[in-house]
């Protein structure tokens, strides 16, 4: 919603819209249900609301705000769940700052939220690619691979990550991106590991796809389940499980093609 249309709304509507937007950004960037509850509650205190309620499901948020005799309920779609902890941190510090600074108007808060939403990636793509590769290499070393396996694993993971990134940018189905990423990573790391002649061949292949394991969604899913948000938790768990199955499929495909029988 643009600013001019926003200003035509009543004041309770404005509060509701801003808090809804806040909840959406938090959810899309890797916050669990409990954090959304707490942060929106903090935000609602900025505006002296009398009644406040949030309902979070995995693809939408519903917020009810009541001030005096006026009560507004609105509902918003939540897009694909990705992870960007910078935005979550920025929103937390924004709310904390607003609390310290006293009064804010809904419009001010909305402009700040828009700025957070439009903020650029904190890291250049090349940095992310190299670090993802090194992270998988690190896993390979933890699992007992040698330095040659480390090199093969790093290269495979970086290449697979780049391919998946390009596919996500081209709006392919997320699960298809995961499949292709896993396949390429396993293919490249297994070929390289063979060329380098490492003794710990299988470690390098298995570790090269670990960047695809959805760590934060997985932790969010279990933490939702443990804190009693069963529906959201189950929905998130199923997404995680599906991703894991697609990773395994990509890996099996690559193993068949490279003629390697790991795990039988």
């Amino acid at each position: 919603m643009n600013s001019s249309r926003f200003q035509e709304q009543g004041s309770v509507e404005q509060v509701c819209i801003v808090i809804l937007e806040l909840a959406r950004i938090l959810l899309e960037n890797g916050a669990e249900t409990r954090r959304v509850f707490e942060t929106t509650r903090e935000a609602s205190r900025l505006f002296d609301v009398d009644e406040f309620n949030v309902l979070v499901t995995h693809r939408s948020v519903i917020v009810t705000v009541g001030i005096d005799t006026v009560t507004v309920t609105r509902n918003k779609r939540v897009g694909t769940l990705t992870v960007n902890l910078s935005k979550v941190a920025n929103i937390s510090s924004l709310i904390a700052g607003a609390k310290k600074g006293g009064k804010v108007t809904p419009l001010e808060l909305k402009e700040q939220l828009d700025a957070v939403e439009a903020s650029l990636q904190p890291y250049h793509l090349s940095v992310i690619i190299i670090m993802v590769g090194l992270a998988c290499g690190g896993f390979c070393r933890i699992a007992g691979g040698d330095w040659l396996a480390f090199a093969a694993c790093t290269a495979g993971a970086s290449a697979g990550f780049y391919a998946r990134h390009k596919m996500v940018k081209a709006y392919f189905e997320p699960m298809l991106c995961v499949l292709v990423g896993a396949f390429l990573s396993a293919m490249i790391s297994s070929s390289l590991a063979r060329v380098f002649g490492t003794a710990t061949f299988s470690n390098s292949v298995a570790a090269s796809v670990l960047y695809l394991v959805p760590g934060i969604p997985m932790i969010n899913a279990v933490s939702d389940l443990l804190k009693g948000h069963m529906l959201t938790g189950i929905a998130r768990s199923v997404t995680v499980l599906l991703t894991a199955v697609f990773v395994a499929l990509g890996l099996i495909l690559a193993m068949k093609l490279s003629g390697l029988s790991y795990y039988g």
């Binding site: 949030v54 902890l85 941190a89 510090s93 904390a96 890291y123 690190g138 933890i142 298995a206 933490s223």
Partner: protein, 148 residues
């Protein structure tokens, strides 16, 4: 090495630059604590129990760091426990399940099923242990904070 893995994932999750060093420290701390616990203190311990203890240590460290640096504790605790997520075990479990699914009904082998069940159980327990571990400080310190 665990620190390296944690930094990589911290960057993948777009953690702000000024806290990345601490996130990686938490990662190394977690894996280090778990490895030490299994190898030195108690070799008979279940991997899930060791994971829980290590994750609790990470959780408390994250709580301290978040108070000092004024950012949410999840910025440290989540990248900190990512190196402990049982990715390899989970992958192995899925491969075994797929193997069960592709064998002919006559060639069904109980060993395979047992293997699949134990791998799945281990990875699920480890995950729960991770989450409980990093939630421990919040559960102990903020018991009375109301939910919305």
């Amino acid at each position: 090495m665990a620190a390296l893995a944690a930094v990589g994932f911290a960057i993948l999750f777009r953690t702000p630059l000024r806290v990345i060093a601490y996130s990686s420290f938490c990662g190394a701390l977690g894996v280090g604590a778990r490895t030490l616990w299994i190898s030195e203190l108690d070799p008979q311990i279940q991997i899930a129990t060791a994971t829980f203890l290590a994750a609790a240590i990470v959780g408390f460290t994250a709580e301290l760091l978040s108070r000092r640096l004024r950012v949410p504790p999840s910025l440290f605790s989540v990248p900190g426990v990512i190196p402990m997520v049982p990715g390899g075990v989970m992958f192995h479990a899925i491969v075994v399940w797929l193997k069960i699914a592709t064998t002919k009904p006559g060639d069904f082998s109980p060993e395979l099923l047992g293997q699949a069940l134990s791998l799945t159980g281990t990875s699920f327990l480890c995950l729960c242990a991770l989450v409980l571990g990093i939630a421990t400080p919040a559960l102990l310190l903020y018991r009375r904070r109301p939910e919305v």
